[in-house]
C-alpha cells in the first residue's frame, strides 16, 4: 500500500527582476530556510532533496551538486529533475512519487532560477531541433504568438479578451507580497503596450524573474504531526506530447487536455468548475488564460472570454484563478511550476493571507513548458481514502 502524501511547508523568495545581493546558492538557501521555518523543521529532519532549474540560463552544470550548500543536500540523497518550463511542476510530481514510494518521509523539493544571469531567449532557442525548428522558431514568444493567432482565428476571440487575463492576474498580484510585478494594469494599457510578436504585446507576457521556491512533501505517517492542516496530493498527470514544434496541435493545448482528463478520471472530478475551489495555473501569457482553461474543461472551446468578463475567475468569483498573480506577474522559470504548487497548498492550508480564497477544499496547479507540454496536480484538504 503506497503512502499518502501531503505538503507540510512552503517557502518562497521575494521575487524580483535582479537579485544582485545573492548568488544562486544563496537564493536557494533563502527559499529552503523559509520552507523549514514554515514547517517548523530543521534541515536534519529532511531525508532527501530534489532540485531543478534550466541549465542554460545560469550556465551551471550538475546543479544538484553545485547547490549543496544552499539546498541542504549534504550527506543526503540529492537528485536533479529538469524538463524546461515544466521543471517546477515536474519537481512537485517527483516529490509526490518519491514520498508515496515509502523511500522518504520528508523530502525537500526546490525550484529556482536567476533569469537576470541569462539570455533567456538565446537559451530557450537551443531547446529546438537544430535542423528543423531552430531557424524558424526563436525562443518562447514566437511559438506562443502562433498559438494565440490560431486560437483567435478558430474561435473569433479578441486581443481585448486576452487583455482581461492580464488585468486579473496583475490585480491579484497586488495582494501577494512575493509576486514580482505588483502593479495593476488596465485593458487599455495592455492593448497599447509595445508589440513583441503579433498579436502579443509586452503586457500579454510574463516577466523575467529571479527567485526560488521550496516545498516540503511528507508521508502520511508524519504529515499531520508537522502541519495541522496539510495539503494532501490527490493525483498527478502530465503529457509532454511533442518533440518537433511543427507537430504540435495548437488548439486548446492538447497536452493539458489529455493530462486533465487523466487526472480528473483518477480523482473523480466530473465538473471542474464546480468541484475545484481554486486554480494556480502556469499561464505564461494572456491568451493561455482563455484557451487553456477550456482545455481544463471549465467551459466549451471558445467560451472562456465569457467566464473572464463575468468575473468567474477573479478573487471572489466562482473559481478564482491565480490569486497569487500567476506567471504574468512573476516568472522565475525553474521555480514557476513549483510556486503554483506552493500557492495551491497555501490555499488549502489557509495560509494565503490577503489572497486567500475562503474555505478551499480542492485546489489544482499546472505547469507549462517544453514544446507545448503540460503537468497537472490536484490537492485536497481531506486525507484521501
Amino acid at each position: 500500500m503506497p503512502n499518502r502524501v501531503a505538503i507540510v511547508g512552503t517557502g518562497q523568495t521575494h521575487h524580483c527582476t535582479r537579485r544582485l545581493d545573492v548568488n544562486g546558492v544563496e537564493l536557494i538557501y533563502e527559499a529552503v530556510c523559509r520552507a523549514l521555518e514554515d514547517a517548523e523543521l530543521k534541515m536534519k529532519d529532511i531525508d532527501g532533496v530534489i532540485i531543478g532549474n534550466m541549465d542554460h540560463f545560469e550556465g551551471i552544470n550538475y546543479v544538484d551538486c553545485w547547490s549543496i550548500d544552499g539546498s541542504g543536500g549534504f550527506g543526503k540523497p540529492t537528485m536533479k529533475l529538469t524538463t524546461g518550463g515544466t521543471t517546477g511542476s515536474t519537481l512537485a510530481i517527483g516529490g509526490y512519487h518519491m514520498v508515496a514510494s515509502g523511500m522518504f518521509d520528508k523530502l525537500m523539493v526546490i525550484g529556482w532560477e536567476k533569469n537576470s544571469e541569462s539570455d533567456t531567449t538565446g537559451a530557450i532557442t537551443t531547446a529546438f531541433d537544430p535542423i528543423w525548428d531552430r531557424l524558424v522558431f526563436a525562443g518562447a514568444i514566437s511559438g506562443l504568438a502562433v498559438e494565440a493567432s490560431v486560437y483567435m482565428a478558430t474561435f473569433g476571440v479578441t486581443e481585448r479578451d486576452a487583455a482581461r487575463v492580464t488585468v486579473r492576474d496583475r490585480r491579484h498580484a497586488c495582494l501577494n507580497p512575493y509576486a514580482h510585478l505588483r502593479k495593476e494594469v488596465t485593458i487599455e494599457e495592455v492593448m497599447n503596450s509595445p508589440k513583441l510578436s503579433d498579436p502579443l504585446k509586452l503586457l500579454d507576457l510574463c516577466p523575467r524573474t529571479d527567485g526560488a521556491c521550496a516545498v516540503i512533501f511528507a508521508s502520511e505517517h508524519v504529515a499531520e504531526k508537522i502541519c495541522p492542516k496539510p495539503a494532501w496530493v490527490l493525483g498527478t498527470a502530465n503529457r509532454h506530447l511533442y518533440t518537433y514544434l511543427g507537430d504540435a496541435d495548437l488548439v486548446n493545448l492538447p497536452s493539458l487536455r489529455r493530462a486533465a482528463q487523466e487526472l480528473y478520471s483518477k480523482t473523480g472530478i466530473r465538473e471542474p468548475l464546480k468541484q475545484i475551489d481554486v486554480m494556480e495555473l502556469y499561464l505564461p501569457y494572456s491568451f493561455a488564460g482563455l484557451s487553456w482553461i477550456e482545455a481544463l474543461g471549465l467551459c466549451k472551446p471558445g467560451e472562456a472570454p465569457r467566464l473572464l468578463w463575468d468575473g468567474v475567475t477573479d478573487l471572489g468569483g466562482e473559481l478564482p484563478i491565480n490569486p497569487s498573480g500567476g506567471v504574468i506577474s512573476c516568472n522565475p522559470i525553474g521555480a514557476t511550476g513549483l510556486i503554483r504548487c506552493a500557492e495551491a497548498a497555501l490555499q488549502i492550508m489557509g495560509k494565503a493571507d490577503k489572497r486567500q480564497v475562503p474555505d478551499v477544499k480542492i485546489a489544482l496547479s499546472t505547469g507549462f513548458g517544453g514544446c507545448f507540454w503540460s503537468d497537472i496536480l490536484l490537492y485536497g484538504a481531506k486525507k484521501p481514502q
Binding site: 500500500m1 503506497p2 503512502n3 548568488n23 532533496v49 531543478g52 534550466m54 541549465d55 542554460h56 550556465g59 551551471i60 552544470n61 550538475y62 544538484d64 551538486c65 553545485w66 547547490s67 549543496i68 550548500d69 543536500g73 549534504f74 550527506g75 543526503k76 540523497p77 540529492t78 537528485m79 536533479k80 529533475l81 529538469t82 524538463t83 524546461g84 515536474t90 510530481i93 517527483g94 509526490y96 512519487h97 518519491m98 508515496a100 514510494s101 515509502g102 523511500m103 537559451a123 532557442t125 537551443t126 531547446a127 529546438f128 531541433d129 498527478t236 498527470a237 502530465n238 503529457r239 509532454h240 506530447l241 511533442y242 518533440t243 489529455r258 487523466e262 513548458g369 517544453g370 514544446c371
Partner: protein, 380 residues
C-alpha cells in the same frame, strides 16, 4: 520497500567513438526497442517513462525534448532526471512503488562525439572562484588521484592494472568501444593528461544509449525473462567544494552503499556480491570506489587489484564489461552498469559471464570527483 520491483528488460546500443549516422533520438529508439523486445513487451504496456539526459552534454536546453517521441512516451506520463542513469532508475522505481504505475521505462543517452568535455565539465565548477582556473573532469580527477595516492601509498602501477584488466575484459563485450591488450608499461608510458593521470588511465569519449524496464512484482512474475529483483538502492551527495572534502575518501559512496546493503540485507559485500559494475571514469576511481563499497578496507584498493580478486575469474569480479574505461557514455554509463548486472544475473553475459552470479552491484556517479553516488544491489 513495501513491494518488490524487478528489472524485466534491458537494451543497449553498441558504444562507439562517433555514431555519426545516429541522432540522440535514433540511439534512444534503438535502446528502447531492444529493451522492449528483451522484456517481451510492447510499448503500449509501458505505463510511464523516465529519461536521463543533460542539457550541457547535449548542447540543448530541455534535452529530454529531443528524445520524447523516440522512447515511446507519446500520451504517457514522463519525467526527466538530469544526471546519471542510475539516479533516473531510482526515480523510475519510486513511480512504481508510489502505486501510480506498474511499469517504468528508464532510458539514458549521451553523445560525447558532439561535446567538448573540458568546457562542459568546467561548467560544474563554481563560476566565481574556481572555473577560471580551468578545472575540468580530468584535472579535478588528477587532484583526487594525487591525494588518494599520497594518503594511502597507491602506485601508478596499481592504477595501471585497472586499465589492463578492464580494456582486456572489453574483448568479451560486444557493446564495448575500446578493447585493448595492454601491459602496465603501456599504460605508464601513455601520454600524460594531468599528472598523475595518463591517457590509458582515462575513459574514452563515447556515444551510446541504454534502456531498462522496471516492473512491480505482480507484472514481473509474468515477464518473458527471469525477473532481476531490486534488492537495495541508496544514493547520497557529498560536499561541493573540493576543498571541503577529503578526496582520498568517498564518504557519500560509503553512505549510499550502507543504505543499499541495509535494504538488501548484505552484511559482507566482499563475500555476498558475485559481480560489481562500477563507475570507473579513471583507473584510480575503480580502486577508490571498491574501498567505498566495502570490498576492501580504506587504502587497500591497490592491493585488491594486484591480488587478481577483481579479475573476471577472481572472487569479486569488477567491471567484466570493460567498465567506463572501455566506453564512457556519460549520462547512460550508470544505466549500462545496471543493464550489465541484469545480463550477468540472467546468465546472458556471454563471454564476460561470471559463473553462477546471483547478487550483483551497479554504481553510478554525478558531479566532480564522485560527489554524488548511487548504488544498486540486484539479485535473482
Amino acid at each position: 520497500m513495501t513491494e518488490r520491483v524487478a528489472i524485466v528488460g534491458v537494451g543497449q546500443t553498441r558504444q562507439e567513438r562517433n555514431k555519426v549516422y545516429d541522432t540522440f533520438a535514433d540511439m534512444v529508439y534503438e535502446a528502447t526497442t531492444l529493451a522492449l523486445a528483451d522484456a517481451g513487451l510492447s510499448i503500449d504496456q509501458i505505463e510511464n517513462v523516465v529519461s536521463a539526459s543533460n542539457d550541457f552534454w547535449d548542447g540543448r536546453t530541455i534535452s529530454s525534448m529531443a528524445i520524447n517521441d523516440a522512447c515511446g512516451s507519446y500520451d504517457k506520463n514522463i519525467s526527466c532526471v538530469e544526471g546519471d542513469g542510475t539516479f533516473a532508475a531510482f526515480y523510475g522505481m519510486t513511480r512504481i512503488l508510489s502505486g501510480a504505475y506498474d511499469t517504468t521505462l528508464v532510458v539514458a543517452h549521451s553523445k560525447g562525439s558532439e561535446s567538448v568535455s573540458s568546457h562542459i565539465t568546467n561548467a560544474m565548477f563554481d563560476p566565481l572562484y574556481v572555473r577560471a582556473l580551468g578545472l575540468d573532469a580530468i584535472s579535478s580527477a588528477a587532484l583526487q588521484a594525487r591525494r588518494y595516492m599520497d594518503r594511502y601509498g597507491i602506485t601508478e602501477e596499481q592504477c595501471a592494472l585497472v586499465s589492463v584488466k578492464n580494456h582486456g575484459n572489453a574483448f568479451r563485450n560486444p557493446y564495448a568501444q575500446l578493447p585493448l591488450r595492454l601491459t602496465v608499461q603501456d599504460v605508464l608510458q601513455s601520454r600524460k593528461l594531468a599528472d598523475p593521470i595518463k591517457l590509458l588511465d582515462a575513459s574514452p569519449i563515447s556515444d551510446g544509449a541504454c534502456a531498462i524496464i522496471l516492473a512491480r512484482e505482480s507484472v514481473a512474475r509474468r515477464s518473458a525473462k527471469p525477473p532481476v529483483w531490486v534488492r537495495g538502492v541508496g544514493y547520497c551527495a557529498d560536499a561541493y567544494h573540493l576543498g571541503d572534502r577529503d578526496l582520498a575518501e568517498c564518504a557519500a559512496l560509503v553512505q549510499a552503499a550502507r543504505k543499499a546493503y541495509q535494504m538488501a540485507g548484505v552484511r559482507d559485500p566482499r563475500k555476498e556480491l558475485d559481480v560489481v559494475e562500477l563507475y570507473d571514469a579513471f583507473t584510480y576511481q575503480e580502486l577508490l570506489w571498491t574501498e567505498g563499497l566495502g570490498l576492501c578496507g580504506p587504502g587497500e584498493g591497490g592491493r585488491l587489484v594486484e591480488s587478481g580478486a577483481t579479475q573476471l575469474e577472481g572472487d569479486i569480479p569488477v567491471n567484466p564489461s570493460g567498465g567506463l574505461l572501455s566506453a564512457h557514455t556519460v549520462i547512460a554509463a550508470g544505466l549500462v552498469r545496471i543493464a550489465e548486472c541484469v545480463l550477468q544475473l540472467r546468465g546472458e553475459a556471454g563471454e564476460r559471464q561470471v559463473k553462477g552470479a546471483r547478487t550483483a552491484l551497479a554504481h553510478g556517479v554525478n558531479g566532480p570527483c564522485g560527489q554524488s553516488h548511487c548504488v544498486w544491489v540486484l539479485g535473482l
